[in-house]
Amino acid sequence: MSTYLQSLAGGMLIGASAAILLLLNGRIAGVSGIVGRLAQGIGLTTNLAFVLGLLLGPLAYLLAFGGWPTVEVTATWPLIIVAGLLVGFGSRMGSGCTSGHGVLGLARLSPRSIVAVATFLSAGVLAVTIVRDFGL
């Protein structure tokens, strides 16, 4: 399977996951929201179930394809800490990340999410360009 087809199929599964949570539980499958609420002790059981499932996903992939998905981290340790803090703080401040705003927000044609996606994509391009140009 070509890599783009594989990406498309994976994306459609992510959409299906969002559909399951929306139509069965009436909830938005936004990972920053789910993890953030879990960290505050809100909606413990369902949020915990989703996170548990998220952890089992790569394991299901291992069982299906006989190998782990590839994960290559190139950022240095200090940059990983900075990135984690920014992602955590920013996604809670902006009420969402790539799943909540990116997948469901765009699917709902939400103006807030369209602004959020345009903003984080631009900031992401800026960050990658700066990191590359400074050889960090």
């Binding site: 199929a9 069965l24 539980n25 179930a49 469901l104 984080f120 900031a123």
Partner: protein, 143 residues
């Protein structure tokens, strides 16, 4: 059977499909995500296929939702009602985007890849939880 058991099962299934989809899509890999954001370098368009596929399927589910009075296992839908485009949305998304580009991780892939036991992703998730807690428990409650 208790309804909360159904809700638990639905959330678990949703999480598994999400984690499997992320693994299949290649987006568990920060290098691929950064490749998509590297529009001025060696651009990897894969993430556009992932997001496109996800949004198309999610779009259909939203159309189905509009024809339902309530979700299968709850009395009402819990959909954001805030319509205001404010500075919190823009500044928050900008900070998130910077972190996303620097590390190549957003919350979904970061949590899912914990299963692989890579020390860097553990550190990222710990830092992310600190960031979330700083916002939810300190910044948003300041007077």
């Amino acid at each position: 059977m208790n309804r909360s058991i159904y809700q638990f099962a639905a959330a678990l299934l949703s999480g598994i499909v999400f984690g499997f989809g992320l693994s299949l899509s290649g987006m568990l890999n920060p290098v691929r995500v950064q490749g998509f954001l590297d529009v001025f370098g060696y651009w990897d368009p894969s993430l556009a296929f992932v997001l496109g596929g996800a949004v198309i399927v999610a779009f259909f589910s939203v159309q189905v939702m509009k024809r339902m009075r309530h979700p299968a296992f709850d009395d009402s839908f819990h959909i954001p009602t805030n319509r205001k485009i404010d500075s919190l949305l823009v500044i928050g998304s900008a900070l998130f985007g910077l972190g996303w580009g620097i590390g190549g991780f957003c919350p979904g892939p970061a949590v899912a890849s914990l299963s692989l036991g890579i020390p860097q992703t553990v550190l990222f998730v710990v830092a992310m939880l600190v960031g979330m807690t700083l916002y939810d428990r300190v910044w948003s409650r300041r007077t």
